[in-house]
Amino acid sequence: MSIELQNVNFTYPGTDVGVTGIDLTVADGELLAVIGASGSGKTTLLKLIAGFETTNAGHILLNGEDVSRLPVRDRQLGVVFQSYALFPHMTAWQNVAYPLKIRRTAPAERHRLAVEALARVGLKGFEDRRPQSLSGGQQQRIALARALVFQPRALLLDEPLSALDAGLRGEMRDEIRRLQREFNISTVHITHDQEEALSMADRVAVMERGRLVQIASPRELYDAPATRSIAGFVGEANLWDGTVAAPDTVEVAFGRLATAPHGLAMGSPVTVLVRPENIQVGAGQVPVNTFAGTVVRDRFLGAVRRYDLAIEDSVILGETGIRGSIDIVSIRPEDVRLLPA
């Protein structure tokens, strides 16, 4: 079932904080991650889709049906909250069975379905445990089972992994993705963790100051961000101010950089983007974009090493698996991206 937002506008009463002109579509069975800094409006977007807030203008459609004015309880959406929001006075199975109880499913049947749903999220044998006696990951699984057991029209995830520790977060990413695919349910996943968004989503939407600034596949978003701020927000990045010097060259503070042919007007100001992993250690095969400098900061991160190479007053951020000394780096022209200044 698809989710569609048409020119959605909303401001919190008495403020100018909210979202403006949101247009987006989540296809049937698609997982769309919405990322953005704190206060960018991503949680407000989820509240609007869920119905916790009502739009000032625009429409929210679920499979073509306008639900903009429909109460939360009638939207039939599964919501997983950041804090899990499990009912502490109920056991695991009672939590999962609660939406079925509301739908007047017979007691024996709702017990069976709840136990089955818990087994699907890997919690067989935990049916009679209270949420507070379970780990964060297990509570998260109960929340997922509860949100899915009544076959909702779509799934909304509000920073569901932010309360988990790093190891468990990776495991739960895979688990959520597996369940989302298994149920083939359209999902909006709100997160501030860009790595989580890139690894889980079919597409990623980036929000800034209440506006949607780019929607793209994870690869496209990483490789071709629309703006300098998106490039800086999604992954590590070298972002340099530059000027177009030739159809395949830009001038930056520390020299000239050969690029792929770009078609920009001569003299245009641009932002030059090069991802750290695209900085090659040593001179390249083609003798272009080779720079000598001194490593001023070196961080060992296990699989890779992240370093700052100072060239005059500029710094190149690089990542490599090489552990030896670094004094020359090169950049392939096709790895140089030009963004609006």
Partner: protein, 261 residues
């Protein structure tokens, strides 16, 4: 620290222990402890119709006060918690804290003025006594409930229930009420304890037929010491019984809700 605690406990429990000892003492005049042993004071108390009746009245008043306070305080506390306006919240708090600030004596005079008229001739009735106890005890329960609601973060849980399809009534009875079981239990213990020991208001507004136990107890102080001690021990037992009953009622209601989930 241990010494201070011990002194405090001795200070707290000595009168209770002396009451208990005195209630079984045959004679107690001008001595530190009573002499002799007897259960006659309790038998005399049991045979005294006015004490028996007062005992029953007190139980009735406590039970009704707890029930009415629960029926009023839970939705009222919820409404206050949900109130968006800070001004409304402050005004409501002042209004419901007034009975604590005003002495029961003032409240009692108000009751006498209003309910001794020909239009409202209810002074001396059981229901007016219960109403008085509700006014006096409601703020304590309300305060406990509102504080607990803030602590529990009910908003998110209610949003979760709403997203799962729960109506307002469903959310209130399935989530809010069971979540408040602990504070309701402790609040009702307080209500029961306050109601059972209430004297000032009851003494002024209760009629001859519906005098609660503390009012009748006053008479015992004019008689033998042993009788007064026995009557007071009964009041103490009644207070403990009422507090336990209040807590048990709150827990049972909550357990019933949970089993129905």
């Amino acid at each position: 620290m241990a010494a201070i605690t011990t002194i405090y406990l001795v200070y707290l429990f000595t009168p209770i222990v002396l009451l208990f000892v005195g209630s079984f003492g045959d004679s107690w005049t001008n001595s530190l402890l009573p002499s002799g042993f007897t259960v006659d004071w309790y038998l005399e108390l049991w045979q005294d119709g006015s004490f028996r009746r007062a005992f029953i009245v007190s139980l009735e008043v406590v039970a009704a006060t707890c029930a009415i306070c629960t029926a009023i305080a839970v939705p009222l506390a919820y409404a206050l918690y949900k109130s968006a306006s800070r001004g409304v919240m402050v005004a409501a708090r002042i209004v419901f804290l007034l009975p604590i600030a005003a002495p029961p004596l003032v409240l009692a005079f108000g009751f006498i003025l209003v309910f001794s008229s020909d239009e409202l001739p209810w002074l001396g009735s059981l229901w007016l006594l219960i109403a008085g106890h509700v006014v006096l005890t409601l703020p304590y329960l309300l305060q406990t409930l509102v504080a607990d609601m803030r602590h529990l973060g009910l908003n998110t849980l209610e949003q979760a229930a709403e997203s799962l399809g729960a109506s307002f009534a469903g959310r209130f009875f399935d989530i809010v009420v069971p979540m408040l079981r602990h504070s309701l239990g402790s609040g009702l213990i307080m209500v029961a304890a306050l109601s059972i020991g209430e004297f000032q208001l009851s003494n002024l507004i209760s009629g001859f037929l519906y005098r609660p136990y503390p009012v009748v107890l006053l008479q015992a102080f004019y008689g033998a010491t042993g009788f007064a001690c026995a009557a007071t021990v009964v009041l103490l037992s009644l207070a403990i019984l009422a507090a336990a009953g209040g807590a048990f009622a709150a827990r049972s209601a909550s357990a019933y809700r949970q089993s129905a989930a």
